[in-house]
C-alpha cells in the first residue's frame, strides 16, 4: 500500500532508496531480480556441469525415433514402429478421454449426491453424507487401486464365458463384462446410414427449436405448451421412420468369444473403466459438497419471495434458486475438473496408457531421457490447466455481480 502522500523532496539522496516509499519498491524489486537471476544461474550452472560430468546432453531427438513398444488403447493409429512423439500423442488423447468421461460422470454423481444429501429423507441423506465423507477422506490413489482390484476380482475373465455350461454369460447376448474390460456391440454403417444419422441430427436441432419457440410463446402470450412428450417425439419418431424406410441400414456387430479374447464390438478397456469410475466417484464426493454449499448459499428469502409471487416449487428451483446457485457452484466445479485432469496421471497405478504412462513412463524408461520427458509432461499439463483456468476466468467475469 503506497497510498501515503509524501511532501515533495528537492533532491534525490541515496538513503531515499530505502526510506522513501516512492523509491523503496524499486529497491526491493531490484533485489528480487538479482536474487532471481542469480538463483536461476546457480541452478542452470549446476545442471550443465552435472550433465557435462555425466557426459549427457539435453536433446529432444528421441521424440522422432521409433518408440518400439505397443499400446493397448489407442485413439489414433499407432504401431510399435511409430515415433515416441506419436506415443506421447496417443497418451495425451487417452488422458483427455478419461478426463472428459470422468468430468461428465463425476458431475452426475456429484449433483445427485448433493441434492439427495439435502433431501428430507433421513436415510438417503445419511447415506449420501456417508458416501461423501468416505470418499473425501481416503486418498484417491487408494481408491483407484481398490476399485481396480474389485473389478479384476469380481468380474469374470473371458475364459469363464467358454464351454457349454459357462460360468458367466453375456448380458442380453450383446454386452460382456469381463475383467479385461467391457465389450459392447459396435454399429456397422451400411449404405444409407448417412441419411438416418442426418435425420437424427436434424431432429436434435428440431427439439431445440421447438423448446425455444415454446419459451418465446410463453413469454409473449403466456400460453404454456407441453415440453416433455413433444420433445421425445421429435427426437425419435422421424429417425425411426427413416431407419425403417431405408431398410435398417445400421446393424450391430456383436462381440463374440474368439481365441483368447472377445473379438468384434467395441472394447472399453478395464484400466480405463477402473480409472474413469474411481475418478468420477471420488471427485463426485467433492462436487456433491460444492452443490450442497451452492444451494444452501441461496438465502431462504429468495425462494420465499418466489413463492409469494406464486411460482410452483419446480419453477422456484429452475428459475430462482439454480441460476443463483450456479454462480456459486461453477467455479469450484471447474477446479474439480482440473483436479480430475491432474489426478488422471495416477493411471500409472492401473496400467492405463495416459500421457504419464507413455511419455513419462515407458518412453522415459526406454530412452533414459528423464529431464526432457518430465519437462514435456509438465508442459502438457500446464497447457491444459491454463486453458481451463482461462475459460473459468471468462465465465467468472461474465457472471460477476456488478458492484460499486
Amino acid at each position: 500500500m503506497t497510498t501515503m502522500t509524501d511532501p515533495p523532496q528537492e533532491s534525490f539522496r541515496l538513503s531515499m532508496l530505502l526510506n522513501d516509499t516512492r523509491y523503496r519498491s524499486y529497491t526491493f524489486q531490484f533485489i528480487a531480480l538479482i536474487v532471481l537471476i542469480s538463483s536461476i544461474a546457480f541452478l542452470m550452472s549446476n545442471l550443465f556441469s552435472n550433465l557435462a560430468a555425466a557426459g549427457l546432453n539435453i536433446s529432444y531427438q528421441f521424440l522422432g525415433s521409433p518408440a518400439g513398444y505397443d499400446i493397448n488403447q489407442t485413439l489414433v493409429e499407432y504401431t510399435s514402429q511409430s515415433t515416441n512423439a506419436r506415443a506421447a500423442l496417443v497418451g495425451i488423447l487417452n488422458t483427455l478421454l478419461v478426463a472428459f468421461l470422468a468430468c461428465v460422470t463425476a458431475t452426475v454423481f456429484g449433483v445427485i449426491a448433493g441434492v439427495l444429501r439435502l433431501s428430507n429423507n433421513w436415510l438417503v441423506s445419511k447415506l449420501m453424507s456417508f458416501y461423501v465423507e468416505i470418499f473425501r477422506n481416503i486418498p484417491v490413489l487408494i481408491w483407484i487401486i481398490i476399485i481396480f482390484t474389485i473389478m479384476i476380482a469380481v468380474l469374470p475373465g473371458p475364459r469363464a464365458f467358454r464351454g457349454d455350461d459357462p460360468a458367466a454369460s453375456m448380458v442380453l447376448n450383446a454386452v460382456a463384462f469381463t475383467n479385461r474390460g467391457v465389450y459392447i456391440p459396435a454399429p456397422v454403417w451400411g449404405p444409407g446410414s448417412l441419411v438416418v444419422v442426418a435425420t437424427f441430427i436434424l431432429s436434435v436441432i428440431g427439439v431445440f427449436a421447438y423448446r425455444r419457440y415454446a419459451t418465446n410463446l410463453l413469454y409473449a402470450t403466456g400460453r404454456l405448451l407441453p415440453m416433455g412428450w413433444p420433445s421425445l417425439a421429435i427426437l425419435f419418431v422421424p429417425t425411426l421412420l427413416v431407419y425403417f424406410i431405408m431398410g435398417m441400414p445400421i446393424g450391430l456387430d456383436y462381440p463374440a468369444l474368439k481365441g483368447f479374447n472377445f473379438s468384434g464390438g467395441i472394447k472399453v478397456g478395464g484400466p480405463l473403466i477402473a480409472l474413469w469410475f474411481a475418478l468420477s466417484i471420488y471427485t463426485g464426493a467433492f462436487i456433491a459438497e460444492n452443490v450442497r454449499a451452492g444451494i444452501q448459499a441461496i438465502s431462504k428469502g429468495q425462494s420465499e419471495a418466489a413463492g409469494a409471487l406464486g411460482l410452483r416449487p419446480g419453477r422456484i428451483m429452475n428459475l430462482v434458486v439454480l441460476p443463483q446457485a450456479l454462480r456459486v457452484i461453477i467455479p469450484p466445479l471447474i477446479s474439480q475438473y482440473l483436479n480430475i485432469t491432474k489426478n488422471s496421471s495416477l493411471a500409472i497405478a492401473v496400467g492405463y496408457a495416459d500421457v504419464t504412462a507413455t511419455l513419462g513412463g515407458i518412453t522415459l524408461n526406454q530412452t533414459g531421457r528423464a529431464i526432457e520427458c518430465v519437462l514435456l509432461l509438465m508442459l502438457f499439463y500446464l497447457t491444459i490447466s491454463l486453458s481451463i483456468s482461462a475459460i473459468m476466468n471468462v465465465y467468472n467475469n461474465s457472471v460477476k455481480l456488478k458492484e460499486r
Partner: protein, 338 residues
C-alpha cells in the same frame, strides 16, 4: 520440522559438498558405506525380508563389493529404485553402483554413458501361461492379452517378437511385479512376460505353482549385470574385479567354507594371487590385499550365491543353465587374475 532445520540440512549438505567430489572409490571409503541401487522387491534377486534385511542375488554382489572396499559386508545402504529412477540415481551420484537386474544394451552403455562391469546373470525374456490354456508355444498366443512388467527392455522385445511373427496381442503394462501377478492370477491377462528368472521367482510364490508353465521360447538376450558411471575407471575396476573374483573363486574351488585355510597359502599361484598372499593385486586396485578374500567370505563364491538365493534348492529353483561356469558348458567366465 520448521524451515530452519531444512535450511540447516541444506547447509550441512553444502559443507559435505566441499569434501566430496573426488573419485567414487575415495568417496565410498570416506563415507564408510556403499550406496547400492537395487530393485524395489523381486524375491531371489533383491527383496527385504520380514526383518527388513535385504537379501538376494543382486544384493550379494553389493555386499561383496562393500566387503572388498570397506571390509564389512554390512556397510551397504540399499537404495530401492524403480525402472524410472535407477539411471538418474546412478548418473546423479545418489548411488555408487546399480545392481538391479539391468540389461546391458548398446544405448545404455553408449548413449546414457554407463559402464557395465560384467554379467552376473544371463537371462532372457520368457512367457508364463496357465496350464489350462493348453498353449505350448509362444507362437500360439495370437490375440492374447499379455501382462508386462514395465521398466526393462521387456516392452520392446515383446513388440519385436509379435511383429516378426506377424501375430497380434494386447499389452497390459504394469509397474510392480506384485500387481502384475495379481492381474495374471485373476485372469485379466492370459500371459505374463518378463525375464525368465523373474517368472520363475514369481511362480515360486504362487499358491499352486504347478498350474502354470513357462513356455520354451526365450525371445531375447538379457545379460544382466552391475553398472557404474562412465568415466570413473578406478571404481569401475573395483566393481568389475570383485565380480570376477567371485566367479574365479568358484572356478578354482574357493568357497566360504575353505577360504580361511586357503588364505594361509596354497600350491595354486592363482588362488594365492586372488586371495592376496602372493603379488600386489589389491594394491593395484587401490584396496586392501585381502579384498577378494573378504568379498568371497561375505556371501560365498558365485556358485554359492547362486545356490543360496535362486538355485534349485530354493523356491525359485533356477537351474544354472547358461550361468554355469565355462568349464561346465556355461557362459560364466572370468578373465585371469594375473
Amino acid at each position: 520440522m520448521k524451515k530452519s532445520v531444512f535450511f540447516g540440512a541444506l547447509t550441512v549438505a553444502g559443507l559435505a559438498a566441499g569434501v566430496a567430489a573426488a573419485g567414487t572409490l575415495d568417496d565410498v571409503k570416506a563415507r564408510g558405506k556403499l550406496n547400492c541401487g537395487v530393485t524395489t522387491g523381486l524375491v531371489g534377486f533383491a527383496a527385504p525380508d520380514a526383518n527388513g534385511e535385504w537379501n538376494g542375488f543382486d544384493v550379494s554382489v553389493c555386499r561383496a563389493v562393500a566387503a572388498a572396499v570397506l571390509g564389512d559386508a554390512s556397510a551397504v545402504e540399499f537404495v530401492p529404485t524403480t525402472g524410472k529412477t535407477r539411471f538418474t540415481a546412478l548418473a546423479s551420484g545418489e548411488i555408487d553402483m546399480l545392481a538391479r537386474n539391468t540389461t546391458w544394451t548398446f544405448s545404455r552403455d553408449v548413449d546414457l554413458k554407463f559402464t557395465f562391469v560384467g554379467v552376473n546373470y544371463y537371462d532372457g525374456q520368457g512367457f508364463m501361461v496357465p496350464k489350462e490354456l493348453g498353449v505350448s508355444s509362444a507362437k500360439d498366443l495370437d490375440g492374447a492379452t499379455v501382462c508386462i512388467q514395465t521398466g526393462t527392455t521387456t516392452e520392446l522385445n515383446l513388440a519385436d517378437f509379435f511383429r516378426s511373427n506377424n501375430i497380434s496381442y494386447e499389452p497390459v503394462p504394469i509397474e510392480t511385479n506384485a500387481e502384475a501377478q495379481q492381474q495374471y492370477l485373476a485372469g485379466a491377462c492370459d500371459v505374463y512376460t518378463t525375464d525368465a528368472s523373474g517368472l520363475a521367482a514369481t511362480r515360486a510364490t504362487f499358491e499352486a505353482p504347478g498350474d502354470h508353465v513357462l513356455l520354451p521360447e526365450i525371445i531375447s538376450k538379457e545379460p544382466l549385470g552391475p553398472l557404474v558411471r562412465h568415466g570413473d575407471n578406478e571404481w569401475g575396476d573395483v566393481v568389475r574385479w570383485t565380480l570376477n573374483a567371485l566367479i574365479t573363486a568358484e572356478e578354482l574351488g574357493v568357497t566360504s567354507a575353505n577360504i580361511s585355510e586357503m588364505a594361509a597359502g596354497t600350491n595354486n599361484p592363482e588362488i594365492n594371487r586372488l586371495l592376496g598372499t602372493e603379488g600386489t593385486l589389491g594394491e593395484m586396485l587401490g584396496v586392501d590385499a585381502d579384498w577378494a578374500m573378504k568379498a568371497i567370505s561375505a556371501g560365498g563364491n558365485y556358485g554359492e550365491i547362486f545356490e543360496k538365493n535362486i538355485g534349485e534348492s530354493t523356491p525359485i529353483g533356477l537351474a544354472r543353465g547358461l550361468n554355469a561356469q565355462w568349464t561346465d558348458g556355461g557362459l560364466i567366465y572370468s578373465p585371469p587374475f594375473r
